[in-house]
């Protein structure tokens, strides 16, 4: 079990009914595996079905065809636009998933405070989302996901809604969290350099409908130098595939 991939996607196709009753094929026979403890990214142009695939993995939508094998019990997600609840404080947002699971208040408090501390929001526990910057809101989203102690952490373009400085800082933090917890991360992004900087494996999807075009193992040493020739070479290679 431990050597088995944590996630197996086999022959996934997905169609949906658009306006005017037109059937759109979003994904066609997508197959790949995610190994336990690795950082995997799915990259591709807009409309290639990356986010649809993520939602199929999360069980939010049902694929038209194919199978998803989930060899994990706990997963969590970090959303592109944070998706934290505006009526809850930072602390209440972070403990939300635990509360829904029926974890005792004492245990919730311990875990939530630990995760809030980990993402650097200890002074902001009682603030509401509207009182926080975009970067801080995403940190709440990260803490909420970490509080679930997930085996598989899914991230849907987690840095897209942020300014460049905040995105850089948060990328380093995610990298640190991944190293510290050795959890499995599956990230969806349209930024190839972001995927190369963070991932062990990059799955490239092509659009219309989304199919797996290639899988690239990234063997550059960590921490990665985004200005090194090897880094550029890899980014250019993947960009050429998508073009």
């Amino acid at each position: 079990m431990q050597n088995e991939p944590i996630l197996k996607i086999l022959d996934i196709s997905h169609e949906f009914l658009a306006e005017e009753r037109e059937t759109i094929k979003a994904l066609s026979r997508v197959s790949f595996e995610v190994e336990r403890g690795t950082f995997t990214s799915i990259v591709g142009p807009s409309g290639c079905g990356k986010s649809t695939l993520l939602r199929i993995i999360l069980g939010l939508i049902q694929q038209t065809q194919g199978t998803v094998t989930r060899n994990y019990t706990k997963s969590a997600v970090i959303f592109q636009n944070f998706a934290i609840f505006p009526w809850l404080t930072v602390y209440e947002n972070v403990e939300f998933g635990l509360k829904m699971k029926g974890v005792t208040p004492k245990e919730r408090k311990k875990i939530a405070e630990e995760k809030i501390q980990e993402v650097g929001l200890a002074q902001f526990e009682n603030k509401y989302p509207r009182e926080l910057s975009g970067g801080m809101r995403q940190r709440v989203g990260i803490a909420r996901a970490l509080a679930m102690e997930p085996e598989l952490l899914l991230m849907d373009e987690p840095f897209s809604g942020l300014d460049a400085f905040t995105a850089e800082k948060l990328k380093k933090d995610i990298s640190g969290i991944w190293s510290a917890h050795r959890m499995t991360i599956l990230m969806v992004t349209h930024l190839i350099s972001e995927a190369v900087e963070l991932s062990d494996k990059i799955i490239v999807l092509s659009a219309g409908p989304g199919t797996v075009k290639s899988t690239t193992k990234v063997v550059l040493p960590r921490p990665r130098d985004a200005r090194s020739p090897d880094f550029y070479r890899l980014v250019d290679g993947i960009t050429a595939e998508i073009d």
Binding site: F79, F82, A83, P86, W87
Partner: protein, 241 residues
Amino acid sequence: MVHASHGLKIYSKKYHVFTALGVFLLPILFLFLIGGLSHVHTQDLAAGIGLSLYRLLLAYAVSLALGVSIAILIGYSSWASSLVPVFDVLQNVPSFALIPVFAILFGYTNAMAIIFAASSIIWPILFYVLNAIKTARSELNEAATVFGAIGLKRIFHYLIPLSFPAIITSSIVGISIGWEAVIGVEIIGLKNGVGVFLNHASILGDRTTLLAGILGILILVFSINKLIWMPLLKKAQYYAE
């Protein structure tokens, strides 16, 4: 007052308590004053306003419970969405056209006044709350699902807080429609209430009594706004993105 599920303090400062007490006392002071300065029967006026307020509050409670429940049901299940056109047609029926129907069913009774007012108040509540649920960001819905807000937990920990600003604004609109409905049906066919008080004053040509009645309603409406809706509206800002 503390919001049960989220610990939101609605009256957190002494200022609110003083304001609340002050505006609560205003209608009483007004009645004493008007009684002392004129021939207006303040006891009749107080009884009339009290009875109308009682009818309004009961009608509002029924509308709130039904409106929010139906909106959540429609927002929650796909089959219930097919009911929206039915409710859309129903809400377009002029409410006063229903008075003869309710009169046949219940007679001009207290219950009839409450049901008639509820039939007017329910629409803004139902449609505002439904709109809040239907227009919520899909990511927020997904986050609620992924983090375990399903079944009854989804209603209490997600859908109701999500709808809270809409519940407050629609309640303000609904209560004002409710006053019209209650006073209207009292004038048309009931034997008591502030509508009847105003109607008698009008028939007798007693302008002082008429003015006292209208001022009494205004002061009560102002008190309710200041005491209940304004603090809730302020807190509702925290529920909106």
